[in-house]
């Protein structure tokens, strides 16, 4: 997994879901973000940049990402 998600911080605002260029993310049944398509992640960092709650981070140099 290339992303680290803190569900305690996530407020389900959907910003990261909307701006992910590879549609990696979705909100689960409790309204929190999860990686629906982790293999598509290119570690661009847009989710981390635009998360207002510091709930999602790219783990730099993580293996298993799409690139």
């Amino acid at each position: 997994m290339a992303l680290q998600i803190n569900k305690k911080y996530c407020k389900g605002c959907g910003i990261c879901v909307a701006f992910c260029p590879k549609q990696v993310l979705e909100l689960d049944e409790l309204g929190k973000v999860y990686e629906k398509s982790p293999e598509a992640c290119i570690q661009c960092g847009q989710c981390e940049l635009r998360c207002p709650d510091y709930a999602i981070q790219v783990i730099r140099g993580a293996k298993g990402a799409g690139q």
Binding site: Y9, K11, G14, I15, P52, D53
Partner: protein, 275 residues
Amino acid sequence: MAVIEKYLRQSALPHIWCPGCGNGILLASILRAIDKVQLEQKKTVIVSGIGCSSRASGYMNFNTVHTAHGRALPFASGIKLANPELNVIVITGDGDSTAIGGNHFIHACRRNIDITTIIFNNSIYGMTGGQSSPLSPLGAMATTSPYGHVERPFDIAALAIAAGATYVARGTAYHAVALTDIVAKGIQNKGFSVIDAITQCPISYGRKNKMGGPAQMMQWQKDNAVLISAAAKMKPEELAGKFVIGQLHQSNAPEYITEYEKVLAKAQGRGGEAK
């Protein structure tokens, strides 16, 4: 995130801002700017007023002051004058800085005191439930403008420039990277710096004005922001309804602390410049 961790009061998180509020994005951008400029953490002071914007200071791991509504700039001025070694950053809101704090705003600009002010501009009074502010657009809906706002907003950049600020810039929550750059430049400016940071209030402003959810409001920021270099080449009709972002103004002028240092030298017979 790793970069800004040491600047956050982790035990205070998660913060109180609503889901999708842009303030958390602005806060992270400011912390990245502080890191970029390599400000000494213990010599940096964050001063805020009252409102959603001003809750930011509580989450920041420095000497922080959450003052009274509209009064961040007087506190900040006292801090800076009493100890000029301190880097003073003010976080305020559109209502906090231009309504109740309006007088302090224009005088801080006029003094050109070496303080960087970031206005978390969501065009509304969020904390108190969605009343109109002096930066709410004409016709906007708010709880105290239930028939539509009948007042024009300030052009905050023009106001700051006319009052004497020497660095004025605008950014948005969407353009978070660019925001870090302009905040960093504002900090580096030796004088009064004003950064108008457009952010979304989805719960009050967004709902009342049918602007969709947080992501749609940020898309709106992206679609309606025009970089100043591009705006210079556009016709007025093309710019209608848009707003300009980037560095809007930079100038040189006597800075308050520097001038007062001359007073100290003169009063102590150390041969300050007679002006």
